[in-house]
Symmetry: C2
Subunit: 562 residues, 2 copies
């Protein structure tokens, strides 16, 4: 039996649980787009391709995998920064590029969307740096296996792949027989050393005096979140996450502490960490920004690390085992009577400042106050900048996911990612009331602001909290506190939703400014914020140089230097 | 004598006539940005990096050369599509990337804005596809010559170059002695065959019975516009341009016809072209979109072609001569008494339809009507889509430049390019009243709309004419006439200028809608449009499937196919 290439591809995407595809139409992908909706997928056209890539990234982090369609050259290059971010932080995006017909490419014709030099491989070459597989679907005999291989690589590595579909290949027939079996992540055969590894881990667990669990961000794409949850509940051991790992464990559990921040965090937590004799470390991701400048990476001599590709026990590395299997077997074999019960350090309970309702809102207290807004099932997104730093202080209800920046830190990412994540959540939960809350600075907002209109068009429930501090405050903290290059143009945020087409007789009912704690309190109690639907915007004004936590130290260092 | 690296670099940029730099601050370029304003350059921060690259491209096309500063990874990749466009259509952008300090790179540290794999060369590798020189300024002994070489390559090829400045190199001292001599485009030594070439060209000119001049788009970056103007005036020969060449010659001259469009254009023009025995063809650029799908490329057996790298006479190619020198020598030696006087075909003078003031505005007549708006000295920009097709029908006053798409055709380009071009024009002419008029479709506008705020902030005089035809009409003409993927979200354009911060007690006085010819007429006569300053927006409503010219043929073909 045969099937058209486009139908084969879109059937595969549906089988993987993709329900919507993001992208922008262009000359070389229009024929391909004809097949999207008939295949049962939704087409979500965004305002530009970078935003589409960001949206696909957000969708992948909630749904597990996502798809993006762009056009050759102009479209795919616009998306490239978004693909790079998905590579760095492990979101599997199936990036499909509509390319010129094979005859055009073979004849090296100087067509538009090229550099007019007859060379058609440049963009694929660029993409190879930020994708784990690249396939050019130009021979129908190879197509089914090429597609399957690329999708499998995306799943195994949890990273983007790159598929070229020449315009004349879209409706070429290919063999359909692969479709009867689903694509899955193949397991490696059980290795000879697997029993040794299991035994070593169990012995270390039974012998531990001061153990802890550390959940890092790559746990998400390793498919081990359920196992981690069971491990935390079974052992009752003190549990921390990294910045990237936030929200991957249930923060409402008594033994879950929050983000471990080393010397800039709670000193008792650091003391416990430093003298721990066993750290079970899962999904490691060791960038400077995810490890407080490399200071919170656990000491390997006391650590069992489960990554996607290896298990490390006290410095010895074992490969070719599935971390999920290892964890599952440990949970199954674990003799809970031999598992030590330990008492962790005190939970941080800083004395909260008394706030006067007429006082101006500040960074230090804002996230504690706004925490009441977050409900179980929400997706919370905190954009690079002060919002990401502040969002680390939120204490999340269970089943609440937070997307924050870990390593790529491309400002502008989080608003389109909100589109993707909120859409994935609505599809996944089938709950039309599912909701996302975005915290974003005024500078970041300017990067990708137009995607508000797509969020509106898709009828998603999103509360956008704009931190208006008059420019790139995080950069002011790093360098150039008073420099004009950290200024931005001044916008009237009150008019944003109206401009972008919010369907409301009075769009102003959807916009709420807040300068003082009293105003913020009123906004947070407002019926539209509490129970409303669609997009709402809260503009919170804060000082240009108001920062907290690690950023405050940077700012102080700069002032001292001046 | 020594000088800090940043001062050396910015001194060189100023020497080349660059007055403003576009870009976005980021962690790895902040120290570098400290040196921009003290060097006498203006910093123009844009909302995102793609927009900055587009703006730099527009600036380069008016100013001759431009500069862009981004940050490592996230920033430069966002700009990449803009750099590729500048490569394809020959706009020399000096792309300066602030990169991590040398120690960080040498130690392969897993810092943010990387893929967390210790590899720092990926982005430079990508850039190498779309830049003519790449230099990594990491050794002070090499820096001055590296910078000079890169700038010279940008000038010679009229294409982007890529400079990396590690964060710790910014204030390292380098030798300053190069600075006493200016960077210029070196001429190749006179070749032995140059006299032969000159003689062959002159003999062909004297012998011609039906000659014509064809000015193509790369004439701009070959620096031969003055010579072309003199050739047109001296010979009086019928002159056409290509799409890319539009506005590079004075359209008010009696012997200048407009864009040669082959079989889809005036049949008498085609007849003259087809039977011409001499075509002097300058600045060739042979993409499908610039040559009516390769049909207007002149017959080489009757053609003298002057490109940036070769002279071709009736099929014979000669290299290593400066085309400007060749043209100058021809003009100097030309015996005008022996230069044939010829009469070209009739100028197109189609019977204009009578328009009723209550009729809805259509594509066919719109550009003829709006032509009255354009004044000498304006810069006119026509975005990819129906605007670009329509803009070809404008008859421009002298000294009026039009920027339209030629080959790269990345929608979204033209609005930020307007920022760059208008700024360059104001700096170049020192005329605070200099003006730009942008024609842009509603779909393209959504791509990069936020740059309106930068145009406002820079106090530029820009009239933005938004063609609102409810989606990607040019794509509807190509394929998917009724498909929803060619729809876009609906915006309230009336609120754009207010949202983006237009400094006006009543921003609505700057927005003008027009649905009928009568309404358009009133808008075009309005004082704010005629004599106003700052940004104004005219929203012109046209039919979803209303197209003209070549696009009409495509649309009709599709309807027939359905």
């Amino acid at each position: 039996m045969s099937i058209k290439l486009a139908d084969y591809l879109f059937t595969r995407l549906r089988q993987l649980g993709i329900r919507s595809i993001f992208g922008v139409p262009g000359d070389y992908n229009l024929h391909l787009l004809d097949f999207v909706q008939p295949s049962g997928l939704s087409w979500v056209g965004t305002c530009n391709e970078l935003n589409a890539a960001y949206a696909a990234d957000g969708y992948a982090r909630i749904n597990g995998i996502s798809a993006l369609i762009t056009t050759f050259g102009v479209g795919e290059l616009s998306a490239l920064n978004g693909i790079a971010g998905a590579f760095a932080e492990k979101a599997p995006i199936i990036h499909i590029v509509g390319t010129p017909a094979r005859t055009t490419q073979d004849s090296r014709a100087l067509v538009h969307h090229t550099l007019a030099d007859g060379e058609f491989r440049r963009f694929a070459d660029m993409a190879s740096h930020v994708t784990v597989a690249q396939v050019d679907l130009k021979d129908p005999r190879l197509v089914p296996d090429q597609i399957d291989r690329a999708l499998r690589e995306a799943m195994i590595h949890s990273r983007p792949v790159y598929l070229e579909v020449p315009d004349d290949m879209v409706d070429v027939h290919v063999d359909a027989s692969n479709l009867t079996s689903m694509i899955c992540t193949p397991s490696a055969p059980v290795t000879a050393h697997e029993p040794v590894v299991l035994d070593r881990i169990l012995q270390r667990i039974y012998a531990a005096k001061q153990p802890l669990i550390l959940a890092d961000g790559e746990s998400r794409c390793m498919g081990i979140l359920d196992e981690i949850d069971r491990l935390i509940k079974t052992t009752g051991w003190p549990t921390w996450t990294t910045i990237f790992g936030k929200s991957l464990v249930n923060e409402q559990l008594a033994n879950v502490y929050g983000i471990y921040a080393g010397s800039i965090g709670d000193s008792q937590w650091k003391e416990y960490f430093d003298s721990a004799d066993l750290i079970i470390n899962m999904g490691p991701h060791y960038s400077d920004t995810n490890s407080q400048n490399f200071t919170t990476i656990p000491n390997p001599t006391v650590t069992i690390t489960l990554s996607n590709t290896y298990v490390q026990i006290d410095g010895d590395i074992y490969r070719d085992m599935h971390p999920g299997n290892i964890l599952a077997q440990i949970l199954q074999t674990l003799d809970t009577s031999r598992t030590p019960r330990v008492t962790g350090p005190a939970k941080s309970a800083k004395e909260a400042d008394q706030l006067s309702s007429s006082d101006l809102i500040n960074q230090k207290d804002f996230y504690r106050i706004v925490n009441s807004l977050i409900r179980e099932g929400d997706i919370v997104l905190t954009e690079t900048g002060t919002a990401a730093h502040g969002g680390r202080n939120l204490i999340l209800p269970q089943n609440t996911r937070l997307l924050g920046p870990a390593t790529w830190l491309s400002i502008g990412y989080m608003l389109p990612a909100t589109l993707g994540a909120a859409l994935a959540q609505r599809e996944r939960t089938k709950n039309p009331e599912s909701r996302a809350v975005l915290f974003i600075g005024d500078g970041s907002l300017q990067m990708t602001v137009q995607e508000i209109s797509t969020i509106i068009r898709e009828n998603l429930n999103v509360i956008i909290i704009v931190i208006n501090n008059d420019g790139y405050t995080i950069e002011r903290a790093i360098h150039g506190r008073k420099q004009s290059y950290n200024d931005i143009a001044s916008w009237r945020h009150a008019q944003a939703l109206g401009f972008f087409g919010a369907d409301d007789t009075n769009p102003m009912q959807r916009y709420f400014p807040a300068r003082t704690w009293g105003e913020l309190d009123a906004v947070l109690r407002d019926k539209s914020i509490q129970d409303g639907t669609g997009v709402r915007m809260v503009e919170v004004f804060m000082g240009r140089e108001d920062v907290q936590g690690a950023l405050l130290r940077l700012m102080e260092k700069q002032i001292a230097y001046e």
